[in-house]
Amino acid sequence: MDTTKERVSPPRQRMQLSWTDPRFRGLVWQVVVVGLVAGIIAWLWRNTVHNLDTRHISTGFGFLSREAGMPIADALIAYRPSDTYLRALIVGVLNTLRVAVIGVVLATILGTLIGIARLSKNWLLAKLAAIYVETLRDLPLLLQLLAWYVLLQGLPPGRQALHPVAGVYLSNRGLILPTIAWLPDHALVLLACVIGAAATWMVRRAALARQMRDGQPRRVWPVALLLIIGFPAGVSAALGVPWAVNWPELRGFNFAGGTVLSPEYVALLLALTTYTAAFIAEIVRAGILSVSTGQWEAGGALGLRRGLALRLIVLPQALRVIIPPLTSQYLNLTKNSSLAVAIGYQDIVSIANTTLNQTGQAIEGIALIMAVFLAISLSISFSMNWYNARIALAER
């Protein structure tokens, strides 16, 4: 061991160059471990460069501007196979986000309902919810995904499509939903909605401030209704914006109009939602159980109705227990969306995988997948941590 290296950081108290000085020992350990790891990485790197040379693969992200030539069935933005790899990868990221965001919302709703059902006084409902949680948690997600996909492919073809509600068709082509024909004027109505929501928030703050002064609670919801629904409706009427619904209908063997959610997308969404909901249900149940019954009773003693006690006393305390594990479930759902590759839904992993098979740019492809998922994971944790900090108990 070369001891001259260790002297670079000047110690405040002279470090003894002997094994009995813990600081010296710590420094030696770190140098040894870092050196070992750096050595292994350097060795792997040298091998990689050599292997890439012999296979005539050039490194770098230059391939991104080349033509992808890869067909993508589900694309949120305009995409043709003659577009670049970069555009294909963006389509993939959007597909991942499309399944993750909607999956998180649906799983939260379903999970909360099942978690509450498990605490129900109705024995049958509670038992069924428990069976749901136990079964779904103990089966691999990939198996569930494949089973959902098989079930969806077993649906009748377009002509005999299931037709549960007007305008909604379910066939082996996927789920067909009606849409609203989008016009530029609709953006103004949406803007009115946003303005209405912002105004509601300010009205609510003012009402709360006045309640703090005189103790009189004020009704906010009529104003909110007027601002969020009435104002945009008024804008729409004043501008004369048409709201044409694009109903899907069967023409020949296929559907025209509406929007088609592919069986791959629906299967992935169903599998992710139902699987994650089982975990969320347990989190919600634990959160509600963590608030002692004394809190309910104290709310009752203050004259609060059960709903108000839930909203003002129990829920804020339960949320503090619920939010941190819920965050990791959201992260899990997002990461699990990468199973899409098994059924051929083209998310970022699937498209990056095709890219690296076509170009041989294995390192860049894997690096892109990791970068995208790290970015998504970090933004979810960041926003959930921010929310968690907001609702955290203000301790003195």
Partner: protein, 380 residues
């Protein structure tokens, strides 16, 4: 409240006619009372019960018809016309009867399939022994080493008169168990070291451990498996070619290590600081302190979450399907590729699901029981 007291209160209110003395409502007893209290306590509850009963009955009848009454259990020589004639009104369990050896053992040589079968039994015995608290001592490590060696000998062969079977021919449940168990056996020590490193006060070591854990936990297992299948060959010098199964196993170990590190770190953090300080006061070195005082207590605290993490890995090993390794799920999916059997995947998935469920459910029940037991013994 005694009767006289109640009457005294009743008469003390002037002008109010005395109501009949009211006791608490009699608690419902017997079957009728139970049904009333738990299924029909209110109008809403009663309506929910009736709707659920209706749905359960319909589902039950549907499953009975599809799975049993209309099902076909056996067909001669892959002649699946009878199954096809059902057109989905009944299950074709014949696919399982025909392919069960393939689903369980993959392409392992047919007459040698007792070897993976025995390996599966050793695995189950190993789990059962590890679950019993009277085996929780140092000798357990020796048992594990012995069992894993025996499984290796059984699967590979080439010694003791067993014929050699290359890894490419392994498959089915044995591979699933190998991936999960070796993942734990190597991932657990790795995770423990990383967890200790993350709590170390040596900045360089701490930074490396944090980076490892956060990087692995931030990306999906699928991407690690892809990395194992396409990047590992690039990392190695010419001439050295490691097997696909081993590469996937390395990815799973790295993945397991990061998650287990966080579980172990939870235990290290939950341990009162006084324990480490006590060890310091006795003049123990870092390694003595860690091995004799800190780890035994910290690990005991995290056994239930460790079991839960293990359930997760057991399920996650199915992801190797994506890179084409022959585990239980891949074998099941491959079993129905043959044209005669195409279209009966649901039956195969149900059977494979039951196998996965049996393992995971046993572990999760065990973890729950353990949690209550450990809580009971620590609560005084």
């Amino acid at each position: 409240m005694s009767d006289t007291a109640r009457i005294a209160i009743g008469t003390s209110v002037a002008g109010v006619p005395e109501a009949a003395p009211r006791g608490p409502r009699a608690a419902p007893t017997g079957l009728f009372g139970w049904v009333r209290a738990n299924l029909f306590s209110s109008w809403l509850s009663g309506a929910i019960t009736l709707i659920l009963l209706f749905l359960i009955l319909r589902a039950f009848l549907g499953i009975l018809q599809w799975g049993f009454l209309n099902a076909i259990w056996w067909v001669p020589d892959s002649q699946t016309q009878a199954c096809r004639a059902l057109r989905g009104v009944g299950a074709c369990w014949a696919v399982v009867t025909e392919k069960h050896r393939f689903i369980l053992f993959g392409t392992y040589p047919f007459e040698e399939q007792w070897r993976p079968a025995l390996a599966i039994l050793i695995f189950i015995g190993l789990f059962a022994a590890s679950a019993m608290r009277r085996f929780w001592r140092k000798e357990l490590i020796l048992i594990w080493l012995g069992a894993l060696t025996a499984i290796g000998v059984l699967m590979w062969g080439g010694v003791l008169g067993l014929s050699f079977v290359p890894q490419e021919r392994w498959g089915g449940l044995a591979v699933t168990l190998i991936l999960a168990t070796f993942g734990l056996a190597f991932g657990f020590p790795l995770g423990t070291v990383v967890a200790l490193g993350r709590r170390s006060n040596l900045p360089a070591i701490k930074a490396m451990c944090v980076m490892y854990v956060e990087l692995i936990r931030g990306v999906p297992l699928v991407s690690l498996l892809f990395m194992a299948s396409v990047m590992f060959p690039l990392f190695l010098p010419d001439g050295i070619n490691i097997d696909k199964l081993l590469r996937a196993q390395v990815a799973i170990i790295l993945f397991a290590g990061a998650y287990l590190a966080e579980v172990v770190r939870g235990g290290l953090q939950a341990l009162p600081k006084g324990q480490a300080e006590g060890a310091d006061a006795l003049g123990l070195s870092y390694w003595q302190k860690t091995a004799l005082i800190v780890l035994p207590q910290a690990l005991r605290l995290v056994i239930p979450p460790l079991v839960n993490t293990f359930i997760g890995f057991f399920k996650d090993t199915s992801l190797v399907l994506i890179i084409g390794i022959f585990d239980l799920l891949t074998a099941a999916k491959t079993a129905i590729v043959e044209p005669a059997w195409q279209g009966f995947s649901l039956e195969v998935y149900i059977v494979v699901g039951i196998i996965y469920f049996a393992f995971c459910f046993a572990m999760s029940r065990y973890s729950q029981r353990l949690e209550t037991e450990l809580n009971r013994s620590t609560r005084h």
